[in-house]
Symmetry: C4
Subunit: 124 residues, 4 copies
C-alpha cells in the first residue's frame, strides 16, 4: 500500500480520570492514542506530554512495525514517568514515517460509561 | 453537484465490543464507516483492516452508486473474513472517486449506550 | 474579523432516532449542523441530503447574517421535505461565503443521553 | 521542538447546559477549549464568541506560556462578559503563535455524564 499519513500530530485534550466503576482493563477509565502505521517501514515515534504549569515530559518512545496499528493507552506510559491522573495535559507525536493518530477517552467514573473520540491534528 | 471529497481515508481507532445490552440492530454494539459518494460516478472502494500483531486483511470491496451514502458496519464485513470482536484494529479506505468518510461507534455493553464519532483522516 | 472558513462542507454521518425519552426541545433526540458565519457578509447556504437508496433531496436553503451562528437542527428541516427518522443519510453544505460546520447528535432513546460531535469535512 | 499548529481556529458548536447533577468542578456541565502552545514563545490569544441573534462578544484574552497547555473552560470566561448558559454560540481563536485547539463538552444534566470532543477547524 502506498504510504498514508503525516509525521507530526497533536492532541490538545488530555485527562485521565483516577476513578473507575470497573476494574477490568476494557472498562477502566482510560485515554488512548490509536496510531496506524500503514506503510512498509517500521515507525519510530517520540511522544511529548505538555502540562499546565510545568515543563513537558518526554520523549516517550514507541515503535510500530510496518502494517500494524497500536492503540496506545496513556495510562500505560511509564518511561520517563507515568502520566498523572486527574490532570490536564496535551500530547505531540513525532514520527519518522507517516502515521495516523486518533484520540479516544473512555470515562467510567460513573457506571454508565461515556466515550469521546477525534482524529488528531496533523501536519508535516 | 461538483465532486467533493478525497480518495484515501484512514480511521486509526477501531474496536467492536462483543457484548451488547440489546439485540435489535439499532442498539447492538457496532462500528460504522459512513461513506458519502456525492459525485456522479459509481465509487469502488477497497478497505484494508490493520491489526496489532498480524498482517492486514483485505481488500474488503464495496461499491457505492452515484449520489448515495452507505453507512457500512464493520460488524457486517465477512469477505475475505469477519472483523474480530474485542480486538484493536484500524482501517484504510481507497476509492477511485472522491468520497467522504466518518467513523462512528455505538457501545451498548452497558444499557446506557455511548457514542463517539469523528471525520476520518483524508488525503489524495 | 478577517474571513475564516471554507465554502463546501460534508457530513457523512446522519441519523435521527425517532424515539426520545424526553419531550422538551433540549433533550429530544436530534442532529444539528452548527454553522458559523464569522465574516462580514450574509451567507447563503444550500444543503443537499443524500440517502442509501434514493436520489438526494434539496436544496434546503438557509441564510445566516454576518457575524452570526446558526445551530440548525436537521429535525427542523421541512422544505422541500422533512428528513426521515431512523434513516441513514449524509449532507453537503455549499455556501457563497466561508463558513465553519460542526456536526452534533444528541441521542435520548435511552434516558441516559449520549452525545457525539465532529468538525465536518471541508474543502473549497 | 519545532513549532506545530495554526494561528486561527474555530469551533462552530457551543452550548453550556445550566443544569448539572453534580456540584464538583470535575463533573459540573462544562465546555472546554483545550489549547496547546507547543512552541518556544508565549502565545497571546484573542477569543471571539458568536451568537444567533446579537453581535459577537470579545475579545476574551488568554496568554499561554511557551511549552504549556491550557484547558480553558468557557464557563470561566468573565471579561468582557460571561458566556450565557443554555444558549447556542460559536467561537473563533486568533493567536500570534501556532497553537492546537480541541473542543470538549461534559454534559451532566443527567447523572450519567455524556462527553463529546473534536479537533477544531484550523487555518492560517
Amino acid at each position: 500500500m502506498e504510504a498514508i499519513g503525516r509525521r507530526r500530530w497533536a492532541i490538545a485534550e488530555g485527562y485521565i480520570p483516577s476513578e473507575s466503576s470497573f476494574s477490568n482493563r476494557e472498562l477502566i477509565s482510560h485515554e488512548t492514542a490509536c496510531i496506524l502505521n500503514a506503510c512498509e517501514r517500521e515507525a519510530h515515534i517520540a511522544i511529548t506530554i505538555f502540562f499546565v504549569d510545568r515543563e513537558p515530559v518526554g520523549p516517550f518512545r514507541v515503535t510500530i512495525p510496518p502494517r500494524r496499528t497500536l492503540h496506545l493507552r496513556f495510562n500505560d506510559l511509564t518511561d520517563p514517568e507515568p502520566v498523572p491522573r486527574d490532570t490536564d495535559y496535551s500530547s505531540v507525536f513525532e514520527s519518522d514515517q507517516p502515521i495516523i493518530v486518533q484520540h479516544t477517552r473512555l470515562d467510567s467514573r460513573k457506571p454508565e460509561i461515556s466515550l469521546l473520540s477525534t482524529t488528531a491534528y496533523a501536519e508535516g
